[in-house]
Subunit: 122 residues, 2 copies
């Protein structure tokens, strides 16, 4: 596949795909003229990369994780790293839930301001 095709299939920009290659996340073959050619599997790989980015992993961590996903190989300390990332995600989720609750309170107060809002103690 050519880069534009991969971009259309995955919804990420051409620039992003080149960036992934620069970061050693997404290798590519080159045509005689120097253009990138990808196997069909690249689409799934890009989707995985996107998911890991969405989880807040930096490209450095994604670079560590990707070979493992495809090979099942465990590099020393990788498992610890993964579980640390998992913990960070969980913490982030907790924070967001708390923030959403806080926002819900704000919304409720906005709809129908209670007396204590007019005389705040905080």
């Amino acid at each position: 596949m050519r880069i534009g095709e991969v971009a259309r299939e995955t919804g990420v920009s051409v620039r992003a795909l080149r960036y992934y290659e620069e970061q050693d996340l997404l290798p590519s073959e080159r045509s005689a003229g120097g253009q990138r050619r990808y196997p069909a599997s690249a689409v799934d790989r890009v989707r995985l990369i996107q998911q890991l980015f969405a989880a807040g992993l930096p490209s450095r961590s994604v670079r560590e994780v990707l070979p493992c996903v495809y090979s099942g190989t465990v590099t020393p300390g990788l498992l610890d790293h993964l579980e640390a990332e998992r913990a960070r995600i969980s913490e982030r989720i907790t924070d967001l839930l708390a923030a959403r609750d806080r926002l819900d309170t704000v919304i409720a107060n906005t709809r129908n301001p209670p007396a204590e809002c007019l005389h705040p103690r905080d």
Copy 2:
């Protein structure tokens, strides 16, 4: 209170507090010599600001929300804005949950690689 004291109490940096003032999120009185003086309530205000930042709201939105929290005043369109932010947070939570599940799969595969991981189809 002086700025360093607020920083210690809240755990945010002095620089951040000055940034909040710059963004009209955290007002301050000034001493004769020009130093910032805060009321004790500033500590909770800073904590609220941090929570909203943690929720992913940009300072512009926090600036909109803060007066409402303390006064119960509803500016036109604010409620829509709040609910849009709430939706954004919920979406982010969903993404993170999906990403965490994906990571769990990766972790499981790392612990005990299944056959298909050892013979990837790319």
